[in-house]
């Protein structure tokens, strides 16, 4: 009894007690479903056949034989990779700019992060309007003489993907911008002062002080953004629904169509399992780079 009371009063018991609700949350709503999903992927399952029928690896076999699956996986990687890359470059550039002693810094920062607050449906509606054939984007391109006549950017296979990437960069860049800005503000000013006293050029300062200073936080930001974009369903679904003729179709949209429109949930579960394998590989890569980082510093 005494031992029990001591346990209850001990610090780590309190810590455990506090940890319990979030742990249950994660277990029931994320880790549990992850395991269930793996089981569901081995079944023939649909809205009309909710009890499921065990069919082994059949779903995976037909999945890997389907060229559509590989195409949507590849398109997802192209979308995620290019959007993340552009966001990193732009976000870092803008953060470097705003880290200078400029007037109106607060206003500028507020404008740069504003798209973060724009709900997906608003972003989609606005950009559809900008990108429709008679919209502003067409007008700018025609005026600059880059195209002869207005283009329906979102409804042509060749331009739909770049257009979707553009919108996603606009919508999601603020996060990386803020992350880099936060990293830049961690770098002690004295480092720059002593470097310029030693006659280091702007580029040398960037290469030897700024970049090492933000590398860790930038790495985290890239990981978070890559994962988020790879899993993102909402924005592309609202913009194009995956079309035209699947040119912007990615795995999250495919899973939604297969599971809830086409009602083959087992197949959808198999696709999401492959998605998580891709993301786990990304995570492994991240840990590897980070370990090398830690060894270096």
């Amino acid at each position: 009894m005494k031992a029990l009371r001591r346990l209850v009063r001990s610090e780590s018991f309190l810590g455990f007690l506090l940890l319990l609700p979030p742990l249950i949350f994660l277990a029931v709503l994320i880790v549990g479903p992850f395991l269930t999903n793996a089981l569901l992927s081995l079944q023939r399952l649909s809205v009309t056949r909710p009890q499921g029928e065990f069919i082994g690896l059949q779903n995976y076999r037909s999945l890997f034989a389907d060229p559509g699956f590989w195409r949507f996986l590849w398109q997802g990687l192209v979308f995620t990779g290019s959007s993340t890359l552009i966001q990193v470059l732009l976000g870092t550039g803008l953060a470097l700019l705003l880290n200078q002693a400029l007037r109106c810094r607060g206003l500028l920062r507020a404008i740069f992060v504003l798209p973060w607050a724009v709900p997906n449906i608003v972003a989609a509606a606005t950009w559809k309007f900008l990108l429709w054939p008679d919209g502003v984007i067409s007008y700018v391109f025609v005026t600059l003489g880059l195209i002869d006549r207005p283009v329906a950017w979102l409804s042509m296979p060749a331009t739909a993907m770049p257009a979707v990437v553009l919108v996603s960069v606009w919508r999601f860049m603020p996060f990386l911008f803020l992350v880099v800005l936060a990293g830049l503000q961690q770098i002690p000013l004295e480092q720059y002062e002593s470097a310029s006293m030693d006659g280091a050029s702007f580029w040398q300062q960037f290469w030897f002080i700024t970049l090492p200073g933000i590398r860790t936080i930038l790495l985290v930001g890239i990981l978070l953004r890559f994962v988020w974009l790879f899993n993102n369903f909402d924005l592309i679904y609202l913009l194009t629904g995956g079309g035209p003729s699947n040119a912007t179709n990615i795995l999250p949209i495919e899973v939604y169509n297969i599971s809830f429109v086409g009602s083959s949930m087992g197949m959808g579960a198999a696709i999401t399992t492959v998605m998580i394998v891709v993301l786990l590989l990304t995570l492994v890569l991240y840990y590897r780079v980070r370990r090398r980082e830690l060894e270096l510093s």
């Binding site: 506090l18 999903n37 569901l40 700019l97 709900p119 803020l178 930001g221 899993n231 809830f260």
Partner: protein, 276 residues
Amino acid sequence: MRLRYRVRKPLLYLCAFSAAALNFFPVYYMFVSSFKSDMDIVSWPPSLLPLEATLANYKYVLTQTPLLLYMKNSLIVALGTTSATLCFAILGGYSLARFRLRGREAIANLVLFAYIVPPIMLTIPLWQVMVTLRLLDTHAGLVILQSTYGVPFGIWLMRGFFEGIPFEIEESAMVDGCSKLGALWRVVLPLSVPGLAAVAIFVFILSWSDLLFSLVFINTASLRTIQPGLLGYLTLSGDFAQLMAASSLILIPVAIMFMSVERYLVSGLTAGAVKG
């Protein structure tokens, strides 16, 4: 060196302000176009200001569409999701930051793993969970589902934030007679306002923006939130003036709220994300 400096400064301003103008243009154009007439909205070249401003679009979306109902539903769900996520993030972040628990690193890795699980993966198994809990097609169910977006990131960020607060502050509060939880409530949380604000705004926007869960789990028309509610208008109507009016109405409350806490975001993210 000094001469270069004089050239550099205006150049920096030029870059900064043109980037800001480009970045702001879509929102500006959305707002301006919401006052355009049916003729004006399709004019070529596109006009940067309405030729003659009209409120007809606002009148239409407010009286002829259930936009206000959708916004009310979204607000209920977003507030619920934000409070739930904050609770879990505080508890998880604090216990991971302050207590030497067995398996702490394993749990921290589990949190990161939870972040990478695709929301679309959760829909299928959670469908069954929601049926069991009888929460299908309810706002309470939607709050639980949307919380899965923000809880892992929230725990992660708050852990970093709490670790940045010196333990001595807590200790001295406890010497003055606070319990451990009292110290958390009276001392640690007030100091964590930037982190909490960052998590809150982050989650609120995620919820206000959610399409996937609301689309899959809400069936009753009167319970619909903004995104699935307006999905049909977006794909079918093509009346951009009305869409822009609806968009302005949806964006403005969030934008105002966002701007009021925006300055916390940098410090909130600094503490949370630097840790990695």
